[in-house]
Assembly symmetry: C2
Homo-oligomer: 228 residues x 2
């Protein structure tokens, strides 16, 4: 029997690729998405389409209103920064950072994994072509895996590291992620990466759009989500 | 100006004591409670009364449906175990364990702390007179603190351990917790610890009731929540 794995699925390019990788690795993917007060709820439609397209055992959408805490351009009235070119993105943690987001998301993925008796969680964070969020770095992922093995019944009752947090994109450039996803049959036309879409269309100028466009350009491709 | 701290408040005896300790430590407490699909939603009424009684800057109740994952007697149709005496409680992790609950709760507390610019989080876990949950042990709390300092903007931009997870009850017996709370003016008649109350009254036979009763008995007191 195929082993279950929980896959965080946002509807963006990275998590779609990550889902395809979990399948390739031989797992039966259980996708989890979050309605967390984000401005761009379109991404949940994309998550559903990606889950249908790649195939999952189950897809749950968990409601958590991070917006009630405020503090991020993605969940409040703070404006999403826009740039004309990728060179204008600086190294500081941007206002689109959502406080403790990946900690919250991984915790909920862990809760579901434990009830499914799944030992494997996939998250599509990437530390190269990314927006500088602290909770996308390898040290954070390693630390969460340690925590998961102390926090849970399965972790405590098993040998070290019964639970694995897989972050298969963490060392890849956006171009490498796209190239890998295309090999695995991901239809990127179904995905949306923009922090501030209007009518489901990407703005083209936020960090996420600029990084995504660069990734397609480096593969000599045009972003298929802009095609139609 | 008094510094803010986020305090996890369940409506039970331990977290009420923990809130009183956070005040004594000089913090301005911001209480966070969770509607997580628990059977005993009465505890949220208790949390509100305790927050009013001890005084908090703000009290938020966060909805997260852990029940949709299943897997615990506290959030599903699995029966809560009952015993005639405390000697019948064994050392195994019981079915009242909610998968990854404290990881989820601390993650959300961390998200709020970061937006409040609070560096301190209080949690009333205790590893002596407790039900054997893995996420109540010192190793878990220490590991979560390490994670919090890697996961967040404030953690990354500051020196080591900018964020502190305070677990002031972790080494105390239930009797010691009650003695300390009484000194700090906690009205335990407002709290509810039972895993399976009926009409807001404790069952008297679940692990939580038996441990609580033992704590009052060791202080030569009767549980005030049973008085009325």
């Amino acid at each position: 029997m195929t082993k279950p794995a929980v896959v965080l699925l946002s509807g963006g390019l990275d998590s779609a690729t990550c889902l395809a990788i979990a399948r390739r690795d031989g797992f039966d993917p259980h996708a989890i998405s979050f309605r967390y007060g984000q401005r761009h709820e379109n991404e949940l439609d994309c998550a559903r389409r990606v889950a249908d397209h790649l195939g999952v055992a189950k897809h749950v959408v968990v409601d958590i209103n991070l917006g009630q805490f405020g503090g991020s351009a993605l969940t409040s009235e703070i404006a999403v920064p826009k740039h004309d070119s990728i060179d204008q993105i600086d190294d500081a943690i941007p206002v689109t950072y959502v406080p403790a987001r990946n900690t919250v998301f991984l915790s909920l993925a862990l809760a579901w994994a434990e009830t499914l008796d799944a030992r494997d969680i996939y998250i599509g964070v990437n530390a190269l072509d990314y927006s500088g969020y602290p909770d996308c770095r390898p040290a954070f992922i390693e630390q969460f895996q340690r925590l998961a093995n102390l926090a849970t019944k399965v972790g405590v009752e098993s040998d070290d590291d019964a639970i694995k947090i897989h972050a298969p994109l963490i060392d890849l450039t956006k171009a490498e992620i796209i190239a890998q996803g295309l090999k695995l049959g991901v239809d990127y036309g179904l995905t949306l990466s923009c922090y501030d879409p209007a009518d489901g269309q990407p703005c083209g100028h936020c960090d996420a759009c600029l990084l995504r466009n660069k990734g397609f350009a480096e593969n000599d491709l045009t972003d298929p989500s802009l095609a139609g």
